[in-house]
């Protein structure tokens, strides 16, 4: 692989956002994801190549390490920050249609629930997997999910909840989505959610961690 892309990948994995990021110590004073992504584009490397060959693989390593409990949430977030600083340079190309992402992912915490940390982690890892994420925030009712699906045909939907009481609102939302958009894929997650519950309410997929969702989406996209 191109040396520059390899370096960029490493920066994202280790959370080296830019020249000024003090971490990791042995990379102090060197370019970070921000500068390297810019350089890669200047050298004529295509935006989708940067995404596919450098950024996505880096985030995959990060997600896997988190699933295996080799790293904790803070390192995952540092990687995401580095990823975002590289993505900022790619976004104009996605907007103009010159480069493409894998699809759209709509995510929200269901009605009655205000927890967002878990949802934010998932949304950022899915963005790192090459998807455009539409984050509807917390306390999101079925109507808002339906409207957003209507505006973004073919989008995959993710629902999050932290309490068993609010988890019941997942059922309501899944049912509403099924009625109107029988083919829409719906992913569910959050501390009280299980595979069994996912099957019971007719959702398509459950994962206890973000990487499981990223892998599932990867399959959908191919």
């Amino acid at each position: 692989m191109n040396e520059l892309l390899e370096k960029l990948s490493r920066c994202v994995e280790l959370g080296k956002t830019d020249l000024l990021s003090p971490y990791p110590p042995d990379m102090k004073g060197q370019d970070g994801a921000d500068e390297l992504a810019k350089k890669a584009l200047e050298e004529g490397i295509r935006p989708d190549e940067i995404l596919e060959k450098s950024l996505i693989p880096a985030m995959e390593i990060v997600g896997d390490k988190f699933s295996r409990k080799q790293i904790y949430v803070p390192q995952m977030l540092m990687a995401a920050k580095a990823m975002n600083s590289a993505m900022k340079h790619l976004k104009p190309y996605f907007q103009s249609g010159e480069a493409k992402r894998k699809g759209k992912f709509i995510i929200g915490t269901v009605a009655g629930d205000l927890h967002d940390i878990g949802k934010n982690l998932v949304s950022m890892m899915i963005e790192g997997g090459g998807w455009e994420v539409i984050d509807l925030g917390v306390d999101v009712g079925s109507d808002k999910f339906l409207r957003t699906i209507e505006e973004n045909p073919g989008a995959v939907v993710g629902l999050s909840a932290l309490l068993t009481t609010t988890m019941e609102n997942m059922r309501t939302t899944v049912t509403a989505i099924r009625e109107r958009y029988p083919d829409a894929k719906v992913l569910v997650g959050g501390a009280p959610v299980t595979m069994e519950y996912c099957n019971k309410i007719g959702a398509d997929f459950y994962s206890p961690d973000p990487q499981g969702a990223v892998n599932y989406l990867k399959q959908l996209a191919t």
Binding site: P74, L114, T165
Partner: protein, 230 residues
């Protein structure tokens, strides 16, 4: 009914960085410079951005129901589930408690996240969780000391939503708290607002005991915090 109210300063809690890092999973000394630095900034600010309050209200147990695994306080029956019932069944009375770190630390967390500093937002969130637990520890110690003179002891803290006790039973719990000093609002879906809040029971009696470690009682086998102190 006896009750007590507490207002704590952040410094009363004796929270340190190592403790918070270990809550996130890090072993001693394993954490990142960046994380440690951000945490020390947040801890320095914590005194200002927290409104740490706790309260308990002691109710005599009206009756126990062994087959239902429930107990009644006043006219409310709580279905606390097998595990918690086993710990509570020798209590003569129960302290219902609430505890909160206040609203601002949660708002700070959300603000940082919204503005793109995910790590800082997450760290505010974790510190908030640790604050409310540490404050509940202090409240519990006060309760323990206040009943010790009467030769009574206390159980561990148990919360609706844990160990098979339905989280929706918080609605009954809140009804037995006449004056909500903590200022916590319970939503119809049994979510406490501010988010950094806890509620629950502590059993009181001559024959009850406090276990040193309660993870082994919990049914959440793959909890990421299981190997920790939770």
């Amino acid at each position: 009914m006896t009750n007590a109210r507490f207002q704590y300063r952040f410094s009363d809690l004796n929270l340190n960085i190592t403790q918070i890092e270990s809550f996130m999973g890090y072993k001693d000394g394993e954490s990142h410079e960046t994380v440690t630095e951000l945490l020390s900034g947040i801890l320095a600010e914590a005194e200002e951005i927290c409104d740490i309050r706790a309260e308990y209200h002691i109710w005599p147990v009206a009756s126990f129901n062994d087959s239902e695994k429930s107990l009644s306080l006043d006219h409310h029956t709580f279905n606390i589930g097998r595990i918690i019932y086993g710990q509570m069944k020798r209590s003569g009375s129960v302290a219902l408690f609430l505890c909160t770190a206040g609203r601002e630390i949660g708002s700070k967390s959300r603000k940082e996240m919204r503005e793109g500093d995910l790590l800082k937002g997450y760290l505010y969130d974790v510190v908030g969780s640790e604050i409310v637990e540490a404050a509940a520890d202090l409240m519990q110690e006060s309760l323990e000391a206040s009943v010790a003179g009467e030769k009574r002891r206390i159980t561990n803290r148990y919360s609706p939503g844990y160990c098979g006790w339905d989280v929706a039973e918080q609605h009954k719990l809140f009804r037995l708290i006449p004056y909500n000093f903590c200022g916590i609002r319970l939503t119809p879906s049994a979510l406490m607002d501010p988010v950094k809040s806890v509620s629950g029971f502590i059993g009181i009696g001559e024959k009850v005991k406090r276990l040193p470690y309660t993870c082994s009682l919990c049914d959440m086998k793959d909890c990421i915090y299981r190997r920790g102190r939770r």
